[in-house]
Each structure stands twice: as C-alpha cells, then as structure tokens.
Symmetry: C2
Subunit: 449 residues, 2 copies
C-alpha cells in the first residue's frame, strides 16, 4: 500500500502537498500522506522565530529568518505560474518583497487546495529506518507539544523536504574562544538594530554576507569589516563597509587578517553558510553533500538511488537560483512517480543520467553558467514530467544579477516583468535602504502605482 | 553478557567510569563499558564552548558555560573525599573556584585511573531501543567527526548521564518577537563584557539569574531590571540592579511589568532554567520530570523502574545542592548493582521507597529543609552501597547559604574548612567582584596565603 511520509512543511513540502491535492481535484486516486513539521506553523524558513539555538522543546531552531529581510530575488523569479502575484494581490506590487509578504503569497496558494490539512505541526521525525524485508520504512515521530512519541508507523515512501539553510557552518578561527563580544552565525541573526553604533566583523562573501552587511549599514552599524576566503565580492559598498582577506586570528577585540592588517570589533557575524544535515536519517538514507547545483546520488536531483527501492526522495536540496518554481516541478515530478504515472528507469540508466549532469556541472565556472545549468535542470524536469508551464526565467535572473552587480545598494528598487501575466512590477514607494517598516500589514496598506 | 553503554562524560559519567576503574584496581571483574560523549572533550557543562545554538555537526550545544564563571558553591561542598583539593593542588587555595580550576581538579581525579580511556568523544547517541525479547538495548550512535553511523550495538545496561542544564526553558512573553535587541537564554550567555554600558532585563530568580546579574554589574552593565514570578530574591543588590515582578509584555524596547511599571532595555536575558530533555530516548525509557530533588520513577534516584528490566539508570538527574559527591555515590551504587554486588528489591518495594522519598519531599518548604533532604538522600545511598566516606556537608551548605544571604556581592570571598583534610581555604587575593582574570594559568600563579 502506498503511504507517503513527507518531512517538512516549508515551500518544498507544501508544493508536494499542493500537487497531490491538485491531482485529487483532477479525480486521481491519491495515496495516504502525512507531513510532519517540527515548527508550529507551515512555511519553513519563511517563518520568523524570535528564539535562537533550540526551540521550546530542545530541538534546533529551523529558521534563519530576521526582521526586515526582503527577498534578494525579484518575485518574478519565483512566481508560480498557476498562482500568480496578480491573482494573490489583485494589483501590481514591487518586485522585491518583505518576508511576510512572500509567506502570505505562498500560503495563499496552499489555501486554494487546503494543502495544510495534511500537516501535523509540532511533530518532529526522530528516526527513519528502511526495512529491506518489507521494502518499506519505519518512522519514529514525536509530538513535541504533548511531549509524546507517536506510535511507530510504516510508510512505502519517504519524501525529505527539510531544507538546507538551517544548520550553520561555523568554522573555528584561532582565538575566537576568548573574544569578549558576541559571536554569532547568520542563522542566529534576528535584527540588525542590535548592532547599531557597533564595529562589526562579518565573515563570508555569499548571499547571507551581502544581505547582513546591507542590513547592518541600513540600521546604523558604525563600521563593518568583511572578511572572505574567496576575495572581494566586487560590489560598490557604502563607506562603512571594507573588504579584507580571510581572518587569521583573534586576540581580545582585535581581529587579524591574512594581509597583516587588523582592526577592533565589537561583534563577529559568521556568514559562512549552512550544512546539509539530516539528523533523523541513518547513513544508508542520508544525503551527504555540499551546497551544489546537482547533489550526488539523486536521480533527477530527487530520487535517492543508494538504498534499493527508489522510494526515498528529496525535494529542494540543490543550491538555488530557482526556488519556489523548482520545488514545484520537483514535487510534481515526484508525485507522478509515486502515483505510478511515471516509471523510473533501471539503476544504471539513472546513474548515467546523474553522471551526465554532474559532468555538465563540472564545466560551470560562472554565475551566468550556473543560472543556465539550473534553468536546463528545471526545464528537463518540466519536459520529463509533463509540467504544463514554461518555468524558464533565465533572462530575469541574468538581468537581476546584472543590476545587483551595478549597485548592491539599489538593486532592490528595480522593476521586472512577469513571465506569466506580463505585469510590470511597480517601483517601491521607498527605496530598500530607506524602508524601515516591512510588515505585511503595512505592505498591504501601501499606495502603489 | 554485561555490557554498559554510558551516555555522557561530564562529572556524572566520569564518576561512573572512575568507580568502575577503581573496582578493577581492586581486582574485580569489570564488564565492557563504552561511554559516548558528543562533545570533543570530557567535562560536560564545565567545558567552555564559544559556539551557541548548535555545534559544528548541527547538534544542540551542550554547555551553558561562560567566561568568568566561578563556582557559586564553596569547593568544600563538592570535594571528593578520595581525591581532595589538597592532593590535587598541593596547597590551600580559595573556596570559590573559576571554571577552569574546577575542571582541572575533576580531570586530575579521572587521570589517577585513566578513566577517559573508555570515552568515545565526538560521538552522539541518536536512539536507544529496549528489546523486550532479549531484555537488552540497541543503541544507534554516530561519529560526528567522521559523519558516519557506528554499527548498531547491543548493551545489557544503559546509564544516562547527560545532565539537565543544557536545554533552555524559554517561555514566551507577549511582544518578544518584535523586540529590536538581543534576546538570549543564559544557556547562550558567554561573556558579560558584551553587555557593558547596556540596559538589561534579566528574567528569573534562581542561580543563573543571581550569577548573571552579578557578572553584568561586574563587567559594566549600565542598569539591570530583574523580573521574576516568585517575588524579590531578597539580596542587597548593587545600585545598578532593581527587582520587579513578572514581565507582562514587550513593546519595542519597552518592557512592562505586572505592577504597571515599565522601562527601556537593550537586551533581554532569560534566566528561566532548563528542561530535562533526552531527545535520544523513546517514551518508555525517557525520564520526564521537572528539576526536583527526587525525580519520579527512579529507585534511589537512579534506577528506571518503568521498563521491566531495571537495567536503565540515570545519574545526576536531581536538583542539586550536592553535586560531585552525589554523582560519585550514585555511580558507586550503580556500579555495585551492575556488578551484581547489590540486588535490587522487588518492584513494589522499589515503588514504595520512591513514594516514601516523594512524600518526604512534599513536606520540604525551605532551602534549609531541601539541603537536609538531599543530605539524607546522599547519606542513604552511602549506607546502602557501603560507600566508605561520610559525604555530609550540610553544615557547610547552611553556612554558605547564610553568607550568600548576608551579602550576595561578597559571599565568594569567604573561607571554609574541608571535611576531609581539615584544611581551611585561603582568602582569594582579590575579592570576586574585583577579579577580572580567571584562567587556570593565572590561578596557578597566584600567590596564595
């Protein structure tokens, strides 16, 4: 009997439930599905959690969300073709959206099919075991509010959609254990206002660093030194931000860099990325990968081919230029496989397919090529699954990247055009760097043109 | 076959290993034992970890240790009779010791029998299952450095010594999610210097609150409002500290109390205690308790009586006036049971014993009575196990509590007399509130009289 255990009710998991519900609307027979979500609400990393560290039940906090976060991607890159922004908001809105607005949009789509009814909130999966004799899985889950194990249950399929921006990568630097100020990872960053008037060291050069640097300047940090292994990011930063090479050591409040320079700081913010971590999975089921555009051992980036039965799947485990739309076509593809509408090829064919993509990825050396790679991946899934929309937004991604390169400070003030509705977004009423209020409430009251 | 899986290499777990090794020295046959420790070193909460939240493998940080922590108890209350402070340090030292000095003392004792050789560091226990057919346990452990599961292993006995000051209790207060400054639990407190010049709200009235209030004043906090449910702590605080009733709500930087007063703060520190949490145990093996002097379902405070075979034990799960010595006699008692030198009574006798102690505890209404209760518990274990030392330090505990009540600021400057050596400790060269350097190194160089 087909029974799906879906783990995680963020954008990926909810896309899975959305697609199942849609198929049911089309009269298809949908198997039993239960989605375990450890947070108290759906939304994954788009939920804001004021706690850091562990939650009220002692489990690691999932979210890395902070006050005043706006998407760093125009909404036109993540717009879902069957539930457009026009449909949700009923009018043109700006391209770069505050966190609550994004979550509101996603929730709106889930509501159209009541997808949340399959979700068991506050429930953590503690362990999944593959039973080779029965070719199924036993799942140990726990109701965190009742503080009680659920009865062990058996499932034919496991779909892991727990995200990979939750477990911080926090390398050691000599002397950090003696630093007298706050040391935190971007995962624990909640509000830039904490750092008003402060001298900061930010370590890292990827999206978290980009955004946290801007946030801290926006909310009044005195000065920020940004240290990275991979060299300057190449943006025209505001005067408060200086780039330096990699951190070498820390002595008291003084931080020393590889080029021999040093400076005093009040706090150290690690923007050193995240680790793919699945603490509830034993090795034979556990994806082990860095953050890459084609993780190993996943056919079509989805099906775990290492443990026999091909009934363990992962959604959303790639590094991402595409996000919501990629999760959606991945979920659609996975649903068709689970429903038996698509048959998986033999193992060697799947392995050869993975090898082909991996070899392609090895030739990728620029951001534009990475965008192109992921576009091809998404389009391949569309074709292979019969997804009815064209999800290609490569030109928007390139345009966005170009604009970000031109000005990291103002790129969020640009407008883009929807692929699906043709609607051109409106200019934000205030530029990003001058907009200090970002709640859904205030956004809905905006007088947009 | 007797095989012990010991979980945790803090003071409790290491006492277990110490006692086993001692028994071996006495020519007894000692069963196989392996101790899994998730940290990279032995010492439990006495290890300092600069990280907060999760460790480099994504698991919750164990320690709540911070820079400049000194024991809040005189060392004469935790001195181990067979390894005295005189023996370790070779001279009289002060009564209240910085964290590194305590750890050094404990390590010294472990070294005498090479107890650490049984410890597998960087190894986390993910799951323990009781097999009723074989009357044993299957343990899933994971090598965190290799990022690899260990083969599933079977053990006859499980000893849980994972502590209970690791998982923060962090209740919600209205509006906390909008607070613009840092919100942290004492579990994540690492250095009071971070809060120099700041206005703070500390929530709580127990030992964490006491100590963090003093630390923050010592290192230059501008002002601290301390809010608690249970009413003023009754100490004569320095002028920077004001006590208030329970927090009611938070609006922006303003915190409001039940008495209608309010104030502005820069950061909020929860000193709201810890939860007994055993995320690796299913319900049938899991101690569920508040922090009390006699946790439920544990015969002699040690043996789990709920799951049939009485081969699951817990060490150190009580609320504590006694610490190191209590762990030691508990471990000694547990070792004698495991070695078959002591036979457990029938289940109804064990239940009746638990009930008797629980009823006694219900009549405890003061700190002095609680100290007396725990003294009786410790002495009962001594008698019942044939422990060869008298661990009663009730008079020192009472004296300490009295001195703390007289002056929370200077109580750590007092001297006490060892029960075991008769040695009177020496005055610290600087009073606690004026001693800003506290490393083991600097301590060893002190010119003590």
């Amino acid at each position: 009997m087909t029974r799906i255990c879906l783990i995680g009710a963020g954008p990926s998991g909810m896309s899975m439930l959305y697609n199942l519900a849609k198929m049911k609307e089309q009269g298809k027979h949908i198997p039993d599905v239960v989605c375990y979500e450890k947070q108290s609400d759906c939304g994954g990393l788009w939920n804001f959690d004021w706690r850091t560290g562990v939650d009220e039940h002692g489990e690691p906090i999932h979210g890395s969300m902070y006050h005043h976060l706006w998407s760093n991607n125009p909404k036109e890159c993540l717009e879902l073709p069957d539930y457009t922004f026009d449909r949700h908001f009923g009018k043109a809105i700006p391209s770069f959206l505050p966190r609550e607005v994004i979550l509101d949009y996603l929730s709106g789509r889930w509501k159209t099919v009541n997808a949340t009814k399959f979700v068991r909130l506050n429930t953590i999966v503690k362990n999944v075991v593959y039973n080779s004799d029965k070719d199924n899985f036993t799942v140990w889950a726990r109701d965190q509010v009742e503080d009680k194990d659920l009865p062990l249950e058996q499932f034919s399929h496991i779909v892991v959609a727990t995200g990979h921006f939750s477990v911080p990568n926090t390398p050691y630097f000599k002397g950090v254990e003696t630093f007298p100020g706050r040391v935190l990872h971007s995962h624990d960053f909640r509000d830039a206002r904490e750092f008003k008037g402060k001298q900061l060291l930010v370590i890292g050069s990827s999206y978290s660093a980009e955004d946290i640097l801007l946030q801290c300047v926006k909310f009044g940090a005195k000065s920020i030194v940004c240290s990275s292994r991979s060299g300057p990011m190449g943006f025209k930063w505001p005067a408060q931000i200086q780039e330096r090479p990699l951190l070498e050591k820390i002595e008291g409040q003084t931080v020393f860099f590889k080029d021999g320079t040093s400076t005093e700081v009040d706090a150290i913010i690690y923007c050193t990325g995240y680790k793919h971590t699945f603490s509830f999975l034993p090795d034979n089921l556990r994806l082990q990968t860095e953050n890459r555009f084609y993780p190993p051992n996943l056919y079509k980036g989805i099906v775990w081919i290492k443990t026999g039965n091909n009934k363990l799947m992962y959604i959303g485990m790639q590094n991402q230029f595409y996000s919501m739309t990629m999760f959606d076509v991945q979920s659609f593809w996975a649903c068709r496989v689970i429903l038996g509408e698509k048959t998986l090829p033999e193992k060697d064919t799947m392995e050869a397919d993975i090898t082909r993509w991996t070899q392609k990825l090895e030739r990728v050396t620029s951001i534009a090529q990475a965008m192109d790679f992921q576009t091809k991946y998404v389009m391949d899934l569309c074709r292979d699954s019969g997804y009815q929309y064209n999800l290609d937004v490569k030109d928007i991604l390139n345009d966005w990247d170009q604009k970000k390169r031109e000005s990291i400070i103002t790129y969020r003030d640009n407008v883009f055009k929807s692929k699906f509705t043709g609607t051109v977004s409106c200019k934000p009423p205030k530029p990003f760097m001058a907009a200090f209020e970002d709640s859904l409430d205030s956004f809905c009251k905006l007088n947009l043109h």
